[in-house]
Symmetry: C2
DNA sequence: AATTCGCTGGCAATCGATTACACGACTTGC
DNA sequence: GCAAGTCGTGTAATCGATTGCCAGCGAATT
């Protein structure tokens, strides 16, 4: 067995390889009868261009790389799915890498992608500062857009949601539901989302006159376990706030669960909110009020930016920061206003 | 800017490109001082081989493709993560595709992977018969191993768990917990796992003398919604069995949830079991008893088989079917024996 | 009728690596 | 002392496509 090459098609159609190439990928005009003959020969032989050979020649692979902090997190899974979908429309493929929440692994993955000549990279950096160097270096070599999170000190494209605005909507909502005080169950401030959500909570709690307390700000990681543990700490310490504002849905799921095991009524005794709107929020008891991240739109936007960057000279363009405004999804873990 | 090529290194080190290639990827002996000079030149210039050019020459890309039915399903996500991990150890990359549970999309993805010269393919076919043609065709061109599910009529490698044995363990367990009757909440029999788990349920329910009823066998899809709906149907129809054996965790999560909203006590009134041991099983109320799929081992085995197939002439080897025996994970949705 | 133009199609270079083959120098054996 | 083998290195072909440049040819222009 031998893979069909362009030379085979050329021979069969009685033309040169140059003509076959032009007939198929239409760089230049070819007379219609020749084009027809070539197409016929190609289909008869079952010819398909060899993307490797083409990539070597034109230095373009029609592949984009994506690096996420953890594929375990359903939010990133949803993002990956959306990106895959958006790329499919452009006839591009996705090379997916998992950074395992480790900046070193992340850097390695980024390098590997550059080496592999992907056309562009979509990355959600796992760390706000430790990821900077690798992201910066990568961005100098290739079109790169950051998704959801971003690192400080670089000027690359970014698309995500307005975390501050989202927090404002959350606090507005729990306030309307009668809360007078609120705790923040978040993640250590190692990346931009964590920081912005935390900052948003602080700023808008003040705006809406919600009582807070340094002891009510608990920072761990994005996991169910941490949510459970945090509620434990809060509960054991005594007085509970009227609302538990969580930095993501996993934490919120943990929180709700801990509330139930400890007999704390949600939302009557405390209201709980999440962030991301992953699929399992519906599954909580009660279903979580949360902030919907429009992953489809985020992905579309990212792919568009990447295409733009690949088209226009990258040096001339200004970096675009696209912040979509997320919607609050009200379910039963909060009281209706 | 200009990418550093092997020629640059050669010039710098004062040798030929052939020597550079040999010095770096060590095909044949090179005198140690030359090797040293070459290595020095390479690092000074920051040279890295161009994988595209190499791939064209040696027709090997060090990339394997993976196609899963749905990246939304946490079980497959876990599988992907494990495969990524296993490949990383071999210095290979993963090209991930989502078939969106559609055999046509799946076929397209498989073709795309073949065209892209991946070294091998790992696929969990979405349909037991509709996926056959594409899988077969692909397997004729490349090393291919099926994961978890497999299609009929092909003789490719496969690795997964022994679904029948798992079902036996499940039924043994619920019987020990006092169940005398059981319902099966499954998925339509469109793929091998669905069939085997269903068959396993039937066979071993008989063995353990658990009462069943055609009306207690409900087949839908792998989703939380279906689990909820199925319990609704069962409940509305009147009498409930002592155990709800679910074909996967998503269904089980839905089932448990529906039980709670309808005031059916789990596990006292009915025991509920899942399958896969996805992360969220711990989150259910009560946490789910389920069958653990050893994704790490499955992935390792798959990668090993792929490597073997790539090494030995594919024609000579017999197809290997590796069925790992899964462990039952007992949590609180069933009664301790 | 001669020149120019436009259009098609072929030749050959090119992308960046790997590797078969050749070649010279040097060792070894008889 | 000469043939045979070893070893290290260079030359050039090769993988399979794309594309700059040139040639031929018919139509259009002067």
């Amino acid at each position: 067995m031998h893979r069909v090459t362009i030379a085979d098609v050329a021979r069969r159609a009685g033309v040169s390889t140059a003509t076959v190439s032009r007939a198929l990928s239409g760089g230049r005009k070819v007379s219609s009868d020749v084009a027809e003959r070539v197409r016929a020969a190609a289909t008869e032989l079952g010819y398909e261009v060899n993307p490797i050979a083409r990539a070597l020649r034109v230095s373009r692979t029609d592949t984009v790389g994506m690096v996420v902090p953890s594929i375990r997190n359903p939010f990133f899974t949803a993002l990956v799915e959306s990106v895959e979908h958006a790329l499919g429309a452009d006839g591009k493929e996705l090379l997916l890498c998992d950074a395992q929440s480790d900046p070193d692994t992340e850097a390695k993955r980024l390098d590997a992608l550059v080496t592999r000549n992907v056309d562009g990279i979509i990355v959600s950096p796992c760390h706000g500062t430790d990821s900077t160097a690798a992201v910066q270096r990568t961005a100098e070599r290739l079109p790169l857009v950051q998704l959801d999170r971003f690192v400080g000190g670089t000027s690359t494209d970014w698309v995500g949601v307005d975390d501050m605005a989202a927090m404002r909507a959350v606090l507005d909502h729990v306030r309307a539901g009668g809360a007078r005080s609120a705790a923040y169950l978040g993640a250590r401030l190692t990346n931009s989302s964590s920081e912005l959500r935390h900052a948003g909570f602080g700023r808008h709690a003040e705006e809406f006159d919600l009582a807070t307390d340094p002891q009510w700000t608990l920072l761990g990681d994005y996991s169910v376990e941490w949510g459970e543990r945090a509620v434990g700490l809060l509960h054991d310490a005594g007085q509970l706030p009227d609302a538990l504002v969580c930095a993501d849905d996993l934490i919120a799921l943990g929180a709700v669960r801990a509330c139930r095991t400890r007999g704390i009524a949600v939302p009557d005794q405390v209201q709980v909110t999440g962030f991301d709107n992953i699929e399992f929020t519906r599954l909580a008891e009660p279903p979580l009020t949360t902030v919907d991240q429009p992953t489809r739109r985020i992905a579309d936007e990212a792919v568009r930016l990447l295409a733009d960057a690949a088209g226009g000279g990258s040096a001339t363009r200004d970096a675009a920061h696209v912040a979509l405004v997320p919607k609050l999804v009200v379910r039963d873990s909060t009281r209706a206003g």
